[in-house]
Subunit: 569 residues, 2 copies
């Protein structure tokens, strides 16, 4: 590609409305342009990268025998009414009416359409297992679209769906998909983690998210420094402290405190947060006789509401009750001593001796409290978020916390949709069997932004080669004044193109500084600089975008060097 015939659209200034680096750089590098909130045009440079992601994703889907299809973006309401999601889905689902006032929607996902297809086209166990995928535009009417394509309303997604007679077959497809996702993100050169994810209210069997690690990520991920273990912080198990609980050594004492924040009480009491507990009252499930249960955790930890909600004693969804009404004091003063409801204690909190807690009386905290002697435990559970330094639940290493950007999600859906929509086949024994289902997504456009979050510096984007819009840039210096530079540049361009490289030949009448700045901003990994002085020795200069390595080399060596560097050939 000659840049004179290309639409570079680079910007010198950082647009003021772009909050995160990938959004800023995608605008500055001329990859996207905003059309409206959450709606973007992918300009040539951006689309080149997007297509590269798409190609790798497609190849790896085909490798595991997933069949590509294309479902409509506009979907009829009736199928969503059948699955129940027409009512359940929030306003992110853009409901529309056609010219005949019939209900449709813009697809944020395609479980209903694929279920409809499979229940009609698949009738025998012989056609199973079956995995179908598409790479397609999706729409989600985000309340606050932001961060460019990271959280856009219209976006590109690869969604795959698999259908099975048995859980074993689903597990096998799930494992293959897991491996395919790992290969995809590896090939794209990304630092990523597959993390154990919450299966949420759908109640599926297993789920992993794939996160690209980046400081700007919205999700916190716990991963072991001694193994492959990684999980969403919400999901990672906090193990019980090892060893026995210490014996009581202090007497229980009542203290007056001021304010309404636990953190404010502790310093005057000379108590470390690790020696104090916090409590909250939540609605009990129907299995429990009391209206409330008390949750107790160490004051230096955070309550994990997802874990708490899964406890059989706790009502779903989790509902915090008014302590004033129930106990006659502000929540900051609640404590387990003489509690009138079941007390569920986090593993770490249960290991404390001589700890501090609320006195169930406004303005008073207790110190020197000890379990059993002063307060009863109904159950010990894992109800807190893990923190850096916790032992890994896999048994190897300790946990680190990193931030991640979710770019993929695989999920064993089970029979949620196939029950609702009656997706089944005749089994080998002639019995009608409802299918079990998996779904697997990759945010194709999001991957582009996530890669930039991971690979950038103050000069712009530093793409892994597999993702770069161009592999090689030819940068001729003052070509318009030198016939010799022009000839060498043109010849080299022809030679590299013929060899199959993705080359950007910067033939604009621009100063060298402008060209270098642009090539570095859009992140061309390899640059060949052609200047008069080096041509006296039949040499050109090679520059690497990633390590700024510069070396002179004979013109005749360039092709071989690039073949070796880029193709290992």
């Amino acid at each position: 590609m000659r840049s004179s015939q290309y639409l570079l659209s680079t910007l010198k200034e950082t647009p003021s409305d772009a909050e995160i680096v990938s959004h800023q750089l995608m605008l500055r590098a001329g990859m996207i342009r905003k059309v409206a909130a959450g709606l973007y045009t992918w300009t040539p440079t951006g689309l080149r990268v997007l297509k590269k992601v798409e190609r790798v994703v497609r190849e790896e889907m085909e490798r595991i025998n997933a069949l590509e299809i294309l479902m409509p973006m506009v979907q009829p309401a009736d199928l969503w009414q059948e699955s129940g999601r027409w009512d359940d889905y929030g306003p992110e689902l853009l409901r529309i009416k056609d010219r005949n006032e019939r209900d449709f929607l813009l697809g944020p996902t395609h479980e209903e359409i694929i279920s409809e297809l499979v229940r009609k086209e698949v009738s025998s166990y012989k056609q199973l297992p079956l995995t179908l995928f598409q790479i397609q535009t999706k729409f989600r009417d985000e309340i606050r679209p932001r961060f460019g394509v990271m959280r856009a309303r219209e976006f590109m997604m690869k969604d795959a769906y698999s259908f099975h007679l048995t859980d074993e077959s689903l597990q096998q497809a799930y494992d293959e998909m897991y491996d395919a996702y790992c290969r995809i993100f590896q090939r794209l050169g990304l630092d990523f983690r597959p993390v154990i994810a919450d299966t949420g209210t759908i109640g599926g069997h297993a789920s992993h998210e794939f996160h690209v690690l980046a400081g700007s990520g919205e999700d916190a991920i716990a991963f072991s420094d001694g193994s492959d273990y990684a999980a969403n912080v919400e999901m990672a198990e906090a193990l019980a402290p090892s060893g026995e609980r210490a014996a009581p050594s202090q007497d229980k004492q009542v203290n007056d405190v001021t304010g309404h924040e636990v953190s404010a009480f502790l310093q005057p009491l000379a108590v470390d947060a690790q020696q104090a507990v916090q409590c909250t009252l939540v609605k009990a499930s129907d299995d429990v006789e009391s209206e409330a249960v008390m949750l107790v955790w160490r004051a230096d930890h955070e309550l994990n509401t997802i874990k708490a909600e899964k406890l059989p004693q706790v009502a779903t969804p989790l509902q915090v009750l008014d302590s004033e009404k129930l106990m006659g004091c502000h929540a900051a003063f609640i404590g387990p001593v003489n509690a009138s409801m079941p007390v569920i204690v986090d593993r770490s909190a249960a290991a404390l001796a001589d700890f501090a807690c609320g006195a169930n009386k406004q303005g008073q905290w207790l110190t020197g409290v000890n379990w059993d002697r002063d307060a009863s435990i109904s159950a010990v559970e894992d109800i807190r978020n893990v923190v850096t330094g916790d032992p890994s639940p896999c048994g190897k290493g300790t946990l680190q916390i990193a931030r991640g950007i979710e770019v993929g999600h695989i999920f064993q859906l089970g029979k949620k949709y196939s029950n609702a929509m009656k997706v089944g086949v005749l089994s080998e024994t002639g019995k009608h069997e409802t299918l079990t289902m998996g779904c697997y997504g990759i945010g194709v456009s999001r991957v582009v932004a996530a890669a930039i979050e991971q690979f950038h510096d103050d000069r712009g984007i530093n793409w892994p080669t597999e993702l770069a819009p161009f592999e090689v840039a030819i940068v001729p210096m003052n070509m318009h004044k030198s016939a010799r530079v022009q000839k060498v540049a043109n010849d080299l361009y022809q030679q590299l193109r013929d060899a199959g490289f993705d080359v950007l030949f910067d033939d604009r009448k621009e100063r060298p500084g402008v060209m270098f700045t642009d090539m570095e901003l859009i992140g061309v990994p390899h640059q060949i600089v052609i200047g008069e002085r080096n041509l006296d020795e039949e040499m050109v200069e090679y520059q690497s975008r990633s390590d700024r390595d510069k070396q002179k080399m004979p013109i005749t060596d360039v092709l071989g060097f690039l073949n070796q560097t880029l193709r290992n050939a």
Copy 2:
């Protein structure tokens, strides 16, 4: 691809709701499935074909340096308000509201979005000319979606847009696009015609439609049997008959006729339709003093309202006036004799002598009428549709009429959008210049259906090789009973795949008849049949889908034969 791992989804019966062959065969061959009216899922076989069209289109766009981008499908109303199309576009434009009650639409085309991009990103003449394209899902809320993907609501389109400083530059891009379109349809193996098209009310400079010829086509195309000339019937010029008009030989006579149909009058009068004229009164333009003008054409021809509307004497849009009110008789009795308004006569009608026409009196027709002697001509114009046998307006050959399916359209838009949306640049002399624009579309999904209309027989689809979902089918006979057949089939499959062929290996446990029927229905152009008997001689049988040519060949010759047949190698 092994058919046991594939979703063939072929149907034996022709679905009753499919009216045209391509729709029937796309359903029967398992290429598409209906989701709702005008909304389809492209199943694996269909998508394979669609992708092949897409690939050829993309390659030819890139060959002429068009740059690929991707614009959003959901578009904000404000840009369409700026261009005026928000109000002008009919209910085919699906207008929607987002969660904040802001107006959006589903894009049927992208002139506004591209104009917005170019006015922001292109500021200098140095960046021109520029051609951008995308291959993307479009939505048009057809009042009566039908014929499968031929007239769907959601469809795949390649749309390109070019921007220029001068008309010459636009013409050059237009010509390059014209050639690219010819190459695309040639490569796809289609019998097509580029036809001169109406530029409609936009008033652009030039326009061609690309039609695939097929009896089921919605459009009538006139083309010369002696040259490349082709035009929409509405557009083709009807030349004046050669030679002088004959001198009057009959006296004008008044005749009583019954009924209200011109065709009913002529037989009793013993007048041939070629010797009679029909007339209508239409509203005159402001340039004409009279309220109406009379249009006159030969009774065996059809009035061409598009041609008539373009006459300076005729008001736009064409408006037929009430003859009872103006002349006191039914329209069938109007005639040019003693007409009180300007009389515009078609070239063929103007060449008549001794003709018949209405007498401007209820129940009366005249015979033996002659121009000049009995009636005045205000102007002679081309206002009829051409018919088979007319001389070609190009001067070579005579016209034939065929039916075509429009699959492409190129159009010199001029400044319609760039004026409305202020798309301009600074010229070389520093002056602000409004750009001129071209737009160029191909109905990618429609091409698939059109190809089937052209290439099918009673056994199914007979694809040109470039479009076929698979190039080669391996059909093993009773493989599950013969280890020898199985081994040869497997080995051949591996060999052909390694050689880069798109192979469908029919490894289902089905009777040979079922396999043949399916392979012929989906239209695999080349089949290799492997059976026990031929294996005794180390032979297999080759079958061509198109000419049913069958030949035995040694197993070892298959690869070479296919390389020669398919790759000319």
